[in-house]
């Protein structure tokens, strides 16, 4: 019981480390994950701490790593996933320098390649557009006349006379270019306006989409040629082109020149393509090499950063020769911490080893319970309600069994239990592969796989006892009921139902579980109701008594022995004398009243209702028994009940006044030393300080008493949900069978085969969806409530805080989530 009975003992330690050895020692402690460091510098600004520059270096490296990761993702290159054994340790100072250099080099290379490829691509686009301009203007320059009109064409001679005559003939010039198709029409209108209609515009759409330009996505472009006259117009047109982001390309008018140019452009395009491909290959190679190392680099950088953050918590001592840190360590792990510090000192070759010193304190330590993969699920359930106070008794130990058991009482069906077991077994057998899935709902189910397995196993058992397999019963031992009516009575059509009388029809008690005949019976629910209701109350009362007894363990540990007599005894007496007695009456009624007895007062007709007996007990009332029956079940019940009620009522003022009077009586002696008595209960949630006024104490105790007394009734009744949910589950199961599956049995031969196949599909989907998933979640929730409220309110304080050790595993996990 050592591990989980209560949380572990914690010690506050002071660590003295040499600054040279500090990094390595903290790295070792981070791998161990057993120290929760306290921030000794919390008044200090983040920018004034000792290791600020190192943290900045880490941030810079992280930024580089993120950039590289972004580039990898853009190119869809996968990073190999590291398993736990392959995770690298935190880098030592030499490795840090190497890592920094590598990261810088990779980042610079990637930057360079990106800008290069951007410019290469732009170039490539220009070449493409030029080529399409050259190709598409074939039609425009076909005739020689237009060639003659081309004023751009160089003159054969510099004869001034020829020039003069050329100008007089009014040569047409032209501008050729490429523009986005969507802009073309307003471009055309603008040109028309500025040239006052003296312009001739031809266009030819480029088939297919052009490559991305500034818009970032492929667009439709068109080649245009604008013919005009005059130098001024040319300038204006060129300005308009600039305004409309139209690229102007020099285009010769003669076919021969164009052909040459096209050949030239084609060659250049081929060259460019080769260069672009080669640079893409180079980029790929660089990224692949980076991808191989990136996972390791990420982990190393994260660990480094965590170490420096932790080092910032340390206080440099007055002499500056060593760093002092404080932290909480579980007492069992103190040797581990010593070893880690020794290793750290050895790695950094420091002359003086690190020193650890345990200091005593009044502060409340954090709560830490060592769990394995089986118990951690249950511990999480309890911690969700509230973290246990330091060294308080831990309900999770019992929850391991009571939680699945109470779930099973509500879920009891062997068929559905097998579904649960199959699901849980799948999750457990494939633990390793499934551990890496990060999707949220799946991780919830995966984290609770052992809980689900146990719930399934217990449901198998309760299903066996309830004798319910998908709403059918199994007859293993032979039914204890036999028909004793003769043929004529049975065949008589006027009586649709025959009721069997226990005296003549019941031969034996079915050994394990509910007799299979009840599944066929019309009055099954009447029988099961009384069984399940009594069952729920019996388990409820036992669970609550167990809870109240747990408080004794707490009182003994916190050395509040007076509370045992002042609080525990009246509480348990109240519960036992009233509700424990009710449970006794249930067992007694089961044992005494039967159909075979000769005494008429013990026959079934005279069996009293336990609820009525209980109410009459509380109200000191009486009920007139029927003829031949007795009011009470046994001799002297009247007297016993009166005594019980009176003692229970005395317990109330005992609870109400006992503790406050005790505090009042013991208080005056402790006034001069107010802190003295508070020491052992440092973590006590109520915080009954010695300087609390008496009225506060009285009021608090009154609240506790009223709460407890009312809760005995309300919580006992609350356990009836065990009955309610199991009834609902059984009825739903029966409905699904009778209304869905039975329809498939109406056909015969081959059609029946196919019908059953189809109907089975529908039935199984509804079974898994409604009965296993929804009912399962519902029963889970109700069981959780029963534990949190009905069980734990009897003793649980839950005023602690969790132990959050400095652990690389946790750091990496948290980093992964972000």
């Amino acid at each position: 019981m050592g591990d989980m009975f209560r949380s572990e003992k914690m010690a506050l330690v002071q660590l003295y480390v040499q600054p040279e050895a500090a990094y390595a020692s903290i790295a070792e402690l981070g791998e161990m994950g057993c120290v929760q460091f306290r921030d000794l510098n919390d008044q200090v600004n983040a920018f004034q701490r000792r290791y600020v520059s190192e943290v900045r270096r880490c941030d810079e490296m992280e930024r580089r790593v993120r950039y590289i990761e972004g580039q990898l993702r853009k190119d869809d290159i996968k990073m190999p996933h590291l398993s736990a054994e392959q995770e690298p340790a935190a880098p030592n100072p030499r490795e840090i320098i190497d890592l920094e250099a590598q990261l810088e080099k990779t980042e610079n290379e990637l930057h360079e390649m990106s800008s290069n490829s951007a410019s290469l691509n732009a170039n490539f686009r220009h070449m493409q557009e030029l080529k399409s301009v050259l190709e598409n203007t074939e039609g425009f320059f076909s005739s020689q006349e237009i060639m003659n009109l081309d004023s751009n064409r160089p003159m054969e001679s510099d004869d001034p006379a020829a020039l003069q005559s050329a100008a007089q003939r009014g040569q047409l010039s032209f501008v050729a270019g490429v523009i986005k198709l969507e802009r073309f029409f307003s471009f055309e209108r603008m040109l028309w306006r500025i040239s006052r209609g003296n312009i001739f515009l031809r266009r030819n759409d480029i088939s297919g989409l052009c490559e991305d330009d500034e818009a970032g996505h492929p667009v439709l472009k068109t080649v245009f040629v604008a013919f005009f006259q005059g130098e001024q117009l040319k300038q204006r047109i060129k300005k308009v082109c600039v305004g409309y982001h139209a690229e102007v390309y020099p285009c010769p008018s003669s076919a021969a020149e164009r052909a040459d140019m096209i050949k030239d452009v084609n060659m250049r395009i081929e060259d460019l393509k080769m260069v672009i491909n080669q640079s893409a290959d180079h980029r790929n190679r660089v990224l692949s090499t980076a991808a191989k190392h990136l996972a390791r680099w990420t982990i190393m950088v994260k660990k480094m950063k965590a170490i420096y953050h932790t080092l910032n918590y340390f206080n440099p001592d007055v002499t500056g020769k060593c760093l002092i840190g404080e932290g909480w360590v579980p007492v069992r792990d103190l040797p581990t911490v010593q070893q880690a510090l020794a290793r750290g000192a050895k790695i950094s070759e420091s002359s003086i080893p690190a020193f650890m010193n345990v200091i005593s304190t009044n502060e409340q330590p954090p709560t830490f319970t060592r769990t394995n993969k089986f118990t951690s699920g249950f511990q999480n359930l309890i911690d969700s309600y509230g973290m246990a106070s330091y060294r308080e008794v831990n309900p999770a130990l019992y929850t391991c069994i009571t939680f699945p058991f109470l779930f099973a009482v509500m879920f009891g069906d062997m068929g559905h239990a097998l579904v649960l077991i199959a699901f849980a077994a799948f999750l457990i057998i494939k633990e390793r592969q499934l551990a890496s899935i990060k999707e949220e709902i799946f991780t919830i189910f995966f984290g609770g796989r052992y809980i689900i397995l146990l719930m399934g196993l217990f449901s198998l058992y309760t299903g066996l006892i309830y004798n319910d397999v998908f709403s059918k019963s199994i007859n293993i031992f032979g039914s204890g009921w036999q028909n004793q009516y003769n043929t004529s009575t049975v065949i008589d059509h006027s009586t649709p139902y025959l009721t069997m009388r226990p005296k003549i029809s019941n031969f034996k008690t079915y050994p394990v579980g509910v007799d299979p005949i009840w599944q066929l019976a019309d009055n099954k629910i009447i029988f099961l109701n009384t069984f399940k209701m009594k069952l729920s109350i019996i388990f409820g009362v036992f669970h609550m008594i167990f809870g109240v007894c747990m408080s004794v363990v707490n009182f003994i540990h916190y050395k509040k022995y007076a509370s045992i007599i002042l609080e525990f005894v009246p509480q348990v007496l109240f519960l036992l004398l009233l509700f424990g007695y009710m449970v006794f009456m249930m067992f007694f009624k089961w044992a005494t009243y039967n159909d075979n007895s000769t005494d008429q007062s013990l026959s079934p007709g005279c069996a009293p209702s336990i609820l009525i007996l209980f109410i009459n007990m509380m109200l000191f009332g009486h009920q007139e028994p029927l003829d031949g029956c007795k009011e009470y079940m046994f001799e002297g019940q009247d007297m016993i009940q009166t005594v019980f009620v009176i003692v229970a009522v005395i317990c109330i003022p005992w609870m109400l006044l006992g503790k406050p009077l005790y505090i009042k009586a013991t208080r005056p002696k402790q006034l001069p030393a107010p802190n003295h008595a508070a020491a052992p209960s440092g973590g006590h949630g109520h915080g009954h300080g010695d300087n609390e006024p008496m009225s506060e104490v009285y009021i608090q105790q009154a609240i506790h008493t009223i709460e407890y007394v009312l809760s005995t009734i309300s919580h006992t009744a609350s356990y009836l949900r065990l009955w309610a949910l199991s009834l609902a589950h059984a009825q739903l199961s029966e409905v699904l069978w009778n209304m869905v599956f039975s329809n498939g049995f109406g056909f015969s031969d081959y059609t029946g085969c196919i019908a059953v196949f189809i109907v089975f599909g529908a039935w199984s989907v509804l079974t898994v969806g409604i009965l296993v998933l929804i009912e399962g979640l519902s029963a889970f929730l109700h069981t959780l409530r029963l534990h949190w409220v009905e069980f734990m309110s009897k003793f649980y304080e839950g005023a602690g805080y969790a132990f959050a050790p400095f652990s690389f595993k946790q750091v990496l996990e948290d980093g992964g989530e972000n």
């Binding site: 130990l397 003769n486 034996k508 019309d522 029988f527």
Partner: protein
């Protein structure tokens, strides 16, 4: 014909064995947790079975069956319907 008290005694002995003897065989680092779990399992499961057994030990009502069901019982469970009965209904 087995005496009426044999099945309950057998089952109680089984659960007592699981709950009292088996915890001594628990080994390993989680010995305490295992022992606690075994004992709790035995107690809760035995109590559950006990309540079910006691309910049926002295039943106060009997099942109400239709003609169809009685006839099926007669055929499947060897529960023959006779023409005359020894005991009055």
């Amino acid at each position: 014909m087995v005496d009426a008290y044999v099945p309950p005694v057998v089952i109680t002995v089984i659960w007592a064995f699981i709950g009292i003897i088996c915890p001594f065989f628990a080994r390993g680092p989680n010995r305490g947790v295992t022992q606690c779990c075994i004992m709790l399992t035995a107690v809760t499961c035995w109590l559950f079975w006990l309540c079910c057994y006691l309910t049926q030990m002295n039943p106060l009502i009997g099942p109400k069956l239709s003609m169809n069901e009685i006839m099926i019982m007669a055929r499947e469970w060897g529960n023959e319907i006779k023409d005359t009965m020894d005991v009055e209904a």
